[in-house]
Every structure is written in structure tokens, then in C-alpha cells.
């Protein structure tokens, strides 16, 4: 054992602050080391010298007068009341949070559970799949994680859509049901599964009267990555090329820019009834002059040739 260690700890030894094992080791060392034994002697002597300054007991008179003085003061002093506690407590609460992991964990768990409960409520209000669709209020898109599948029963207008919320649910209803339409719109825009998008767009084309449905079809035509979905959307929009300029513009855009020749060809055919329209005519001229797709180029020329000449 090192004498340095003993010299560092001899004070704690004198004050009875050494753990038992260290105390034992130190005593063993002191028994055979005269230097350290002398150090202990000096420390003890010094300890005794300092103790010469005695701690005086307060006299009974002092204690009594102090108590009386305090009692008088207490009579005119009010305890920190409820409001004062509220004022001071936020700091105390923070300290308690800091020193009380259990309390912090409990608050966190309550918060998490409340959040989950609220989400569950929203979802269940949004409609559990098996419940009659008429009970559904507007679907909360945030609660729909994704559309699993869409199917139409043969020979009926009943559509089944499976979609994910917290757990997968199923909604049933006719195409006229608002909830079904909204799920289809959601599926057409957001679903990661192109098959589901295809089904939803296909079904939406049966009801393209609503503005939301038409917008969803235009969106699918412009932005869907799957040519089949774009083609379906085009099919649904065909009837509105004449009456709705937005549909016409979308179809023209598809004709000009779509990467898929099938989609472009279909767009070209759809525009035939409105070939006299200025924008359609300009587009056809452009295509007839320089389109890389020979079929499109020829068709555009044919369409222009069938048009009456304007002065």
C-alpha cells in the first residue's frame, strides 16, 4: 500500500468517513509504517486542537426568548397559500420533472395515450369499413394510410374498397356514396399501388360529372406514372373535351407531351370533335409538321385536311 494514499485518507479515517475495507487496509498499513503512524498522530492532535473551540449549547433563556419572538412573528405571518404555490410551483414542477424520471415517464405515457385515443376517435368517426356507408362523414385523409384494393361486384354497382387507417378497414357502398367517391379520389391521387389507382380511376370515369372527380381524372392524366391509368383517365374525360376547356387543355397537353404513344393517339382521337378549336388546330399543325411519331403526324394532317378552310 502506498503511503501517499494513506496520507490522503488519514483525515477521513480520523473523521470515521472511510468505508470498512479501506479502513482495514489503512489500519494494516499504519501497523507497519512508522511515517504514516506519525501522520495519523499529528492529524489526531490537530483534530483535538481544533476541538478546543467548543460548541456552546444555547442557554435556556436564549432558546425561550427565540421561541417567543418567533411565535409573535408567526401570528402576523401567513403561510404560502394556494395562489402563491401556483406562482412558485412552475419552477418546482420543472425541478420535480428533472429529478423524477417516473413522473416524466408517466406524463409522457399519458400524452402518448391521449394522442392515440384522439387518433382512434378520428378514425372511428371516419367510419369503420363494415358500417353502412351512409354513416360516414367526410373522410379524414390523414387517417387513410393507403388504399389496399378496389373491386366492383359483377352485375351491380356495388364497389368494395379496402384502405389502411391504423388498421386495414373496408368500406362498402355504391359509386354514388360520398364516402366511396372520396376514397376513390384519394386512391387516384395518393396510392402507391398503380393497380389500385387504375381501379379507382376506372370507377371514377363512371361518375365524371362531379368537379372533384373530373379534377382527379385530369390529375391522373397529367401526373400518373402508369400509362394504363392515364389512358383510363383519358377515357373518362373524353365526353367533356367539348364542354370543358380545362379538360381540353389537359388532353392537348397529353397529346403533346405524353411519353406513351397509345395515350397520345387516344388523345388525338378525343380531340377530333373539337379540331376546329383554335388551340387544337394550332397543336395539330405543329404535330403535322414535325412530330416524331409518324402515325400521329399522319393523323394530325388528316384531321387538318378534313377541316374547312378559314380565310
Amino acid at each position: 500500500m502506498k503511503c501517499d494514499w494513506v496520507k490522503e485518507n488519514v483525515l477521513l479515517y480520523v473523521y470515521n468517513e472511510l468505508p470498512d475495507d479501506a479502513r482495514y487496509e489503512l489500519e494494516q498499513h499504519l501497523a507497519r509504517c512508522t511515517d504514516c503512524a506519525a501522520e495519523l498522530k499529528t492529524t489526531r492532535k490537530f483534530h483535538a486542537v481544533l476541538s478546543e473551540l467548543q460548541v456552546e449549547e444555547p442557554s435556556p433563556n436564549l432558546v425561550a426568548s427565540s421561541r417567543m419572538r418567533l411565535q409573535e412573528a408567526l401570528e402576523t405571518t401567513s403561510q404560502g397559500g394556494f395562489w402563491q404555490r401556483l406562482v412558485f410551483d412552475p419552477v418546482m414542477w420543472l425541478r420535480q420533472m428533472r429529478f423524477s424520471p417516473a413522473l416524466s415517464a408517466a406524463i409522457f405515457i399519458i400524452g402518448f395515450a391521449s394522442g392515440m385515443g384522439a387518433t382512434y376517435k378520428i378514425v372511428s368517426n371516419g367510419g369503420a369499413g363494415a358500417i353502412s356507408v351512409s354513416q360516414f362523414s367526410a373522410p379524414a385523409e390523414s387517417s387513410v394510410a393507403g388504399i389496399q384494393s378496389i373491386s366492383q361486384e359483377p352485375g351491380s354497382n356495388q364497389i368494395s374498397i379496402k384502405y389502411d387507417t391504423v388498421s386495414t378497414q373496408q368500406a362498402q357502398g355504391s359509386l354514388n356514396d360520398q364516402r366511396i367517391q372520396q376514397l376513390l379520389l384519394y386512391a387516384a391521387r395518393n396510392n402507391y399501388n398503380s393497380g389500385v389507382r387504375m381501379d379507382s380511376v376506372d370507377l371514377l370515369t363512371q361518375q365524371p360529372n362531379g368537379m372533384h372527380v373530373r379534377e382527379a381524372l385530369i390529375y391522373a392524366l397529367r401526373y400518373d406514372s402508369n400509362p394504363g391509368v392515364r389512358l383510363k383517365a383519358l377515357g373518362g374525360l373524353g365526353a367533356y373535351v367539348k364542354s370543358d376547356p380545362r379538360v381540353r387543355d389537359a388532353v392537348l397537353e397529353g397529346l403533346m407531351n405524353d411519353s406513351n404513344p397509345g395515350v397520345r393517339t387516344e388523345a388525338l382521337h378525343l380531340l377530333e370533335p373539337v379540331r376546329a378549336d383554335g388551340s387544337v388546330r394550332a397543336t395539330l399543325q405543329k404535330l403535322a409538321e414535325s412530330d416524331q411519331n409518324q402515325y400521329i403526324k399522319t393523323q394530325a394532317r388528316n384531321m387538318l385536311a378534313q377541316m374547312p378552310e378559314f380565310d
Partner: protein, 235 residues
């Protein structure tokens, strides 16, 4: 006289097992009177908790009972630190009024004993700091050994509150120790005071001063080194 013999066990409770274990060397002594004290402590601890709860409900009598449990120990500490009964009484008054006003906020995270000691030691530290600032402007003289001392401290305290026993004590020895203690920083002084003169365990000292046992230990080492230096010729 060794400090252990001086350490009077606090006859109050309401503290944790850890605190009870670390309360002071007094618990280790074989003095039958002290053993009696310790035996009576468990009942005292239960009473303490009940009294604190009652005091929190606004029961002033319960608070006064708590005061009676602690006030002698508080006065003893304050007198030794300030050297004046008058100043000790002021600290006593301020500490218990403070405790009364905020007892409603006491959350039993520590014992009431630790809590009240925390209030008292904070007030004492403030007192020591003020005293240190005043001392910088005080007239200083040099004694025979070449050591500087405060002239005003040598003037006998003639006030009614002054303890005559203090005057009777060997002036040279007691005076030199007092001056050496006064030269410690307030925190060193407080740690040394609680450890050496009041026999608290270092762990309890740490709790009372809102620090760790290790820091209290280091502060005690520093204080002892300084005192050894100041009182080298007395060893």
C-alpha cells in the same frame, strides 16, 4: 475533546435510511445517553412527517412543535458560526419564518431535517459572506507571531447576548482558531463547521449544501489544509 464527543445527535427525524445512516458519528458512539436518543428517533421521525403534513394544512401549533424539535440545533450552529447570540437569534428567526412561509412547498424529497438545515446554512453562508466583505474594510493588526488579525474581533462583546463562557475560554487559543476559521471561504467554513463541530456525515453535508459528497470531501480537505497552515505552530 474529539469532535465525536461534541456531536449531539439531532433529536428529530423524518429522514431517509440513507440520511439516518449518514447522520453523524454520534450514532457510532457508545454513549448510552446517545443510544437513548437514537432509540427515540424513530418515533420522532414519524411525528415529524405527521407534523409537517399538519403544518402544510396551516396548523401553526404543528409547525411550532417542529420548531421545538430543531431550534436548539439551529441556534447551536448559528452561535458557533457567528460568534454572537444576537446574530444567531436573527438567523433563527429568519430561517423558521422562511420555513413557515414555504412549508406548503415541501415535497418530502428529503427529510425535513435536511430541508431546514439547508435554509439555515444558506442564511449562515450569506452572513459569512457579508462578514467577509465587511472585514476587508476592518482595521487589521499584526500579532506577535506576525499573523494579521481583526482589531474589532479582539474587543470583548459586552452586549447582553454575549456568552461569558467565551470570554473565559483561553483567549489566545480560541481566538487563534476562530481567526483561522474566519479566514476560510464561507463554503469551506460551513463544510468544516458541519463536519468537525456538528459531526454530520459528509454525505449529509453534501445534501444540506446541495452538492455531492465528493465535493464536500474535497472542501473539507482544503479547509483542513488551510487551518493546518494557519495553526502550524499549535500542532
Amino acid at each position: 475533546m474529539p469532535a465525536e464527543a461534541l456531536a449531539v445527535p439531532f433529536t428529530v427525524g423524518g429522514c431517509s435510511q440513507r440520511e439516518r445512516d449518514s447522520r453523524g458519528e454520534a450514532g457510532r458512539t457508545q454513549d448510552p445517553r446517545q443510544r437513548g436518543h437514537m432509540a427515540g428517533q424513530s418515533q420522532g421521525r414519524i411525528d415529524d412527517t405527521v407534523l409537517v403534513r399538519e403544518a402544510q394544512r396551516g396548523n401553526r401549533a404543528a409547525f411550532e412543535e417542529l420548531v421545538r424539535h430543531y431550534d436548539q440545533a439551529v441556534l447551536r450552529l448559528a452561535i458557533h458560526l457567528t460568534g454572537s447570540e444576537h446574530e444567531a437569534q436573527d438567523i433563527y428567526q429568519e430561517a423558521f419564518l422562511k420555513a413557515y412561509k414555504s412549508v406548503a412547498n415541501f415535497r418530502f424529497e428529503c427529510s425535513f431535517y435536511t430541508w431546514i438545515y439547508r435554509i439555515v446554512t444558506n442564511l449562515c453562508l450569506d452572513h459569512l459572506r457579508r462578514k467577509q466583505v465587511r472585514k476587508e474594510d476592518a482595521p487589521v493588526a499584526t500579532d506577535a507571531s506576525g499573523e494579521q488579525y481583526d482589531v474589532l474581533e479582539q474587543v470583548p462583546d459586552g452586549r447582553a447576548g454575549a456568552n461569558p463562557e467565551r470570554d473565559l475560554m483561553s483567549r489566545e487559543l480560541g481566538g487563534r482558531i476562530s481567526r483561522a476559521l474566519d479566514r476560510l471561504t464561507p463554503r469551506e467554513r460551513m463544510v468544516f463547521e458541519l463536519k468537525h463541530y456538528h459531526g454530520l456525515k459528509l454525505r449529509t453535508v453534501g445534501e444540506v449544501l446541495n452538492t455531492t459528497e465528493e465535493t464536500a470531501k474535497n472542501t473539507l480537505f482544503r479547509a483542513t489544509q488551510k487551518l493546518r497552515g494557519a495553526l502550524a505552530d499549535m500542532r
